[in-house]
Assembly symmetry: C2
């Protein structure tokens, strides 16, 4: 009887230990669709933003596609895409702002359209990273013009 009791306790403890771990920021990387890629240049980003190119610019598609993973708190500088940009958020939580408009919250499933020639920034929330696909169409018109950093006051202005 004692042997059975000890066995049952052992089974109970085993299943307790094998429960799914609580979700945290580390789990975001584990379920990412793409590798992290290259760390973005410090002159164009605040914090760590990792770029993984998916479709290089060419004359057949004139479309640039890639993935950026923004670590919590990371964001782009203000910048302009001469032909506009489409963002598809595949996981996490973050922000997007067009110059002169309120900051908008974005998260898994959000789609952002920033019109041609309009200044904007985007990045992760303070607590949770952001996985975003970017699509830059009509690259014959230009890809990106980088401007100044998004200040902490602008970032926190949401």
């Amino acid at each position: 009887m004692n042997a059975i009791f000890i066995y049952i306790v052992a089974v109970a403890v085993m299943f307790t230990c094998c429960k799914e771990a609580p979700k945290n920021n580390l789990s975001v990387d584990a379920k990412a669709i793409f590798p992290k890629g290259q760390l973005g240049a410090t002159e164009n980003f605040t914090g760590n933003a990792w770029n993984y190119g998916l479709v290089a610019n060419d004359t057949a598609f004139t479309t640039l596609v890639g993935n950026v993973y923004f670590e919590p708190g990371a964001r782009t500088n203000w910048h302009i895409h001469p032909a506009g940009q489409i963002l598809v958020i595949t996981d996490g939580v973050g922000y997007h702002q067009i110059r002169g408009q309120p900051v908008e919250s974005i998260r898994k499933g959000s789609v952002v359209k920033c019109p041609p020639g309009v200044e904007h920034w985007h990045g992760a929330s303070a607590d949770t990273g952001l996985h975003q696909l970017y699509i830059v169409p009509n690259t014959e018109k230009g890809i990106v013009v980088w401007n100044e950093k998004v200040t902490d006051e602008q970032y926190k202005g949401h």
Copy 2:
């Protein structure tokens, strides 16, 4: 002692039942990024393919973006995009074939570029569904020209 024994058995059974369910096709839907959307027309698809539009065609971006979830076994007809198509696979397993070339396996993280004017088909594997983002650039050149169905022999030819 009997009461404790029954309690321990109950705990053991509880944790056994609460373990993460085995992955199956249903779990693919649970972790999808987008809603399923509209069922594709039977004249253009074999099986169930669900389309969820993300960016409608317009003159500012001239780029069509959306998500298709192919249920296991589902696939497009043969078709042509006059300006080409980019596919980004966000989950699942499937196939892509350009006319005259071997069938290629695609899965989470795969990126497919089908050149302008080239005939192709794509869809899910027989056992696992496929979640794909599609990007059709330069829509002023046309979006899609649908052709005949992919036969079971062509589908199984991988």
